[in-house]
């Protein structure tokens, strides 16, 4: 509690509360609006924030169930949203597992071993991390085109390609895990090595069990980043049933085929789980993100 307080403090506190509440209302308007729109019937309906005639039409379609309206007309789901969500989750889980495995072992070497070119590699990883993959899409496209001629499950229009391409973005995670390893006293592992353990055993049986929290964070971080990845997936994936959610979702809002209500339901359905995961893990995620400075 501050020792010196001006008389106007009470009013300032009140003003701050009011200001922040007003700000939050404005900020949340788009999100609340989308939830509201997902319950309106039709794709062009206007109305108040609380829909007068709530309808589950868009939710049926988002869940892949054909919807029969009161006029007896049956609408087929326009896009396989659940399939897209499944594709996204599949790609993100496999990517996150691979990223976690590979960046943990790398981080271990960077944190505990001495070898030629260590400082150089670490610094160049930080520099290259800032180059957006969008700019080398032509090259990535050509690369996967070539690989795909010989290894079909890694070619264009495969999930394998998207998964493998996501491995390019590991530097951030390596730095995050390395930072955590640095904060763990290395005398434990040294003791184990003196007792006859190999380097690998010291890593596997001593350091890893102590680092579970950071591994969880990196897994979630890698998962979310892969789910949200747009440019590479948009070039590598072509078929409608192969798209990820990030690439597919925009098809709802084409000028010629504007499905605003259907989009709203699909957006809430697919965005909610990711939002909840993020909010739940935000404390750790923010720490990891501030280390690399991406997003926003």
């Amino acid at each position: 509690m501050a020792m010196v307080e001006p008389r106007s403090t009470k009013y300032r506190v009140l003003a701050s509360h009011l200001g922040m509440l007003a700000f939050i209302v404005i900020i949340l308007f788009p999100l609340l609006m989308v939830i509201s729109i997902s319950f309106r019937s039709g794709n062009f309906a206007a109305g108040s924030l609380l829909p007068e005639n709530p309808s589950l039409e868009h939710w049926y379609l988002a869940l892949g169930i054909p919807y029969t309206g009161e006029d007896g007309v049956t609408t087929q789901p326009p896009f396989p949203v659940l399939l897209w969500l499944w594709n996204s989750i599949k790609i993100a889980v496999v990517s996150a597992v691979l990223i976690l495995a590979l960046s943990t072992t790398s981080a271990y070497a960077f944190a505990r071993m001495r070898f030629a070119g260590k400082g150089f590699v670490l610094k160049s990883m930080l520099i290259f991390q800032m180059f957006p993959p969008v700019l080398s899409l032509v090259a990535l496209y050509a690369l996967f085109d070539q690989i795909g001629n010989h290894v079909s499950w890694l070619g264009l229009n495969t999930h394998g390609a998207v998964i493998v391409a996501s491995l390019g973005g590991m530097a951030l995670h390596i730095w995050t895990i390395k930072g955590y390893f640095d904060s763990i006293d290395r005398s434990l592992e040294e003791a184990a090595i003196v007792d006859g353990a190999t380097t690998w055993q010291a890593f596997r049986y001593i350091l890893l069990p102590l680092s579970v929290p950071i591994l969880v964070v990196v897994f979630i971080l890698a998962f979310i980043m892969t789910i949200m990845e747009y440019p590479m997936a948009s070039v590598l994936l072509v078929d409608t049933d192969k798209l990820t959610l990030a690439v597919g979702a925009q098809q709802y809002l084409y000028e010629q085929n504007y499905l605003w209500g259907d989009f709203a339901a699909a957006a809430v359905l697919s965005g909610l789980p990711i939002t909840v995961i993020f909010l739940y893990c935000q404390k750790w995620i923010v720490g990891g993100l501030t280390a690399g400075g991406v997003k926003g």
Partner: protein, 530 residues
């Protein structure tokens, strides 16, 4: 034993026991058994064999750059996993290889493309173009046969009636995928009724793929529903690389300056091949007015967009962080969660939500504005309004990140500084500019630069929100007033019909330089120790 006692003395008894237990775990001692060694070398051999197959296949297709890439990758993998000296590198190899393959190689390859005319019209290599042209055929008008088809128990029998001779084939199993058949000269027609035109039309797919081969090796293919004709190669290759069109007699010479086969009048033959054109792409950006104009407009907008985003998000984030740090405010957890909500929603969803809300005709924002003020702004067709919209959306997306950063940094400022300033009668504004900002700007700087670089290349926002629209008038490549440099290159490469990869790569190289400079500055500022 000695060491264990020492560790116990430093009060980590539990962990010491854990180590002892794990180390005495059965099986660990026998890890160096023969099976493991065999498994290890076997796996390595399989991987190397697969990699060599890929390299040879790429080499055979004259894809030397890619063959080289995988050769380097495989060689370093073998070196790292065989050499005892490079033991530490085994741990980092997969990650470094991933970065090399998917970040550094594409980067260098892109820089390389920037010096070529690689585009939809010049996609192949010289050899591939030659192969493509030499594999082309045409049907001669001179050697032509009318045909009739007879169905027999063993398959379809062809009867070809020519000017000089008549030919017939053995039964061809058209329905079972037989696609070539020999034909022999005969005098008499086969027995039975020929197939009607309707039945022939039903077989047109199979017939169009069929090749009939005469005694002297001439190939015939279907020329019309009623006739077969001889196929000739369209081009003949000469020793000096020139090609003669056998049908028209025109000779084409390879032009390695522009990557096309050209006849005497300079008319080009499609497709062309990729050639090195030096700095032409860069010169084009500087000299061609239909590219220079849009390029500089987009460049200025990209810079102002990135700066404005950083300033707006920082101002808003810092203000909110200050409020949330204030001891007098209650319900901080609630405010914090609500305020970072825009950050938690996946960006690709919230951007599309804004796209819908800002829609000029059905969007809720225009409905509200019309109800309140009678306004219907053209968010997507007026350049200034479109840019305003983009900044609004990006501030919405980006302020929580800045707020979280500032909250962390504000906590590190000693409280008594504010006490002292309050004693001296300073207000919040004074505090902000004389205490808070000077103290947080230094640790914040690298993060602000990173945020600048990120927004400089904020492709997803533009691609999903406006797609670059409204367009810049008079541009020869697709260019929009809200395009950032990065979405501009994407559109040149992937959305234009010409797919000018070379030009796109040249602009991408320029962006690489900007990003590279920024990240070097960042590395200096953040004083990272490795």
């Amino acid at each position: 034993m000695n060491i264990r006692r020492c560790l116990g003395a430093t009060d980590i008894n539990g962990l010491t026991t854990m180590i002892t237990e794990t180390l005495s775990f059965p099986g660990i001692e026998s890890r160096h058994s023969m099976t493991r060694v065999f498994l290890k070398w076997g796996a390595l051999a399989v991987l190397v064999a697969a990699a060599l197959y890929l390299i040879l296949a790429l080499y055979a297709q004259r894809e030397f750059v890619f063959a080289m890439l995988f050769l380097v990758l495989t060689a370093s993998a073998v070196a790292v996993f065989v050499s005892k000296k490079l033991y530490a590198h085994r741990y980092i190899f997969p990650a470094i290889a991933g970065m090399g393959l998917f970040v550094i190689f594409p980067l260098m390859y892109t820089v390389g493309i920037g010096f070529t005319n690689y585009s939809a019209s010049n996609l192949l290599s010289y050899e591939q173009v030659q192969d493509n042209l030499l594999s082309r055929t045409y049907q001669s008008e001179a050697i032509r046969y009318d045909y009739q088809l007879y169905r027999t128990a063993e398959g379809y029998v062809f009867w070809l009636e020519g000017e000089y001779q008549n030919l017939t084939s053995a039964p061809v199993k058209l329905n079972e995928g037989e696609r070539s058949a020999p034909v022999l000269p005969v005098s008499g027609k086969p027995q039975g009724e020929p197939l009607s035109i309707r039945e022939i039309i039903q077989l047109r797919g199979e017939l169009s793929e069929l090749t009939l081969i005469t005694e002297d090796g001439r190939e015939l293919s279907q020329a019309s529903l009623r006739s077969f004709a001889a196929i000739h190669p369209q081009f003949t290759l000469h020793g000096n690389g020139s090609l003669t069109n056998n049908q028209t007699g025109v000779t084409y010479f390879p032009d390695h300056e522009t990557g096309f086969y050209r006849d005497g009048d300079g008319k080009a033959l499609s497709p062309g091949w990729t050639v090195n054109i030096g700095w032409d792409n860069y010169l084009k950006v500087v000299t061609d007015p239909s590219i220079r104009g849009p390029f500089f407009e987009i460049f200025v907008w990209t810079l102002s967009f990135a700066v404005a985003t950083v300033v707006f998000t920082l101002a808003l984030g810092l203000l909110l962080a200050n409020l949330l740090q204030w001891e007098q405010i209650r319900g901080k957890a609630f405010y914090r969660t609500m305020l970072i909500l825009p950050y938690a929603v996946p960006a690709f969803i919230s951007i599309l939500v804004f796209k819908g809300l800002f829609n000029q005709n059905f969007g809720e924002i225009n409905l509200v504005l019309e109800g309140l003020f009678g306004l219907r702004p053209d968010w997507f067709s007026d350049p200034a309004l479109a840019r305003t919209m983009i900044l609004i959306v990006n501030t919405w997306l980006g302020y929580p990140y800045m707020m979280l950063l500032c909250m962390g940094l504000l906590q590190a400022i000693p409280r008594d500084l504010y006490e002292a300033s309050a004693m001296d009668g300073a207000g919040p504004v004074n505090n902000l500019f004389n205490i808070t900002l000077p103290l947080i700007i230094k640790p914040l700087m690298p993060l602000l630069i990173a945020s600048f670089a990120f927004n400089f290349n904020n492709f997803v926002l533009i691609a999903l929100l406006t797609g670059g629209a409204p367009d810049i008038i008079g541009a020869s490549t697709p260019a929009g007033t809200t395009d950032l440099l990065v979405s501009y290159t994407y559109r040149i490469a992937f959305q234009d019909s010409g797919q000018n990869f070379g030009l796109a790569a040249a602009i991408a190289t320029a962006i690489f330089l900007v990003v590279g400079a920024l990240s070097l500055i960042n590395l200096k500022l953040s004083k990272i120790k490795v």
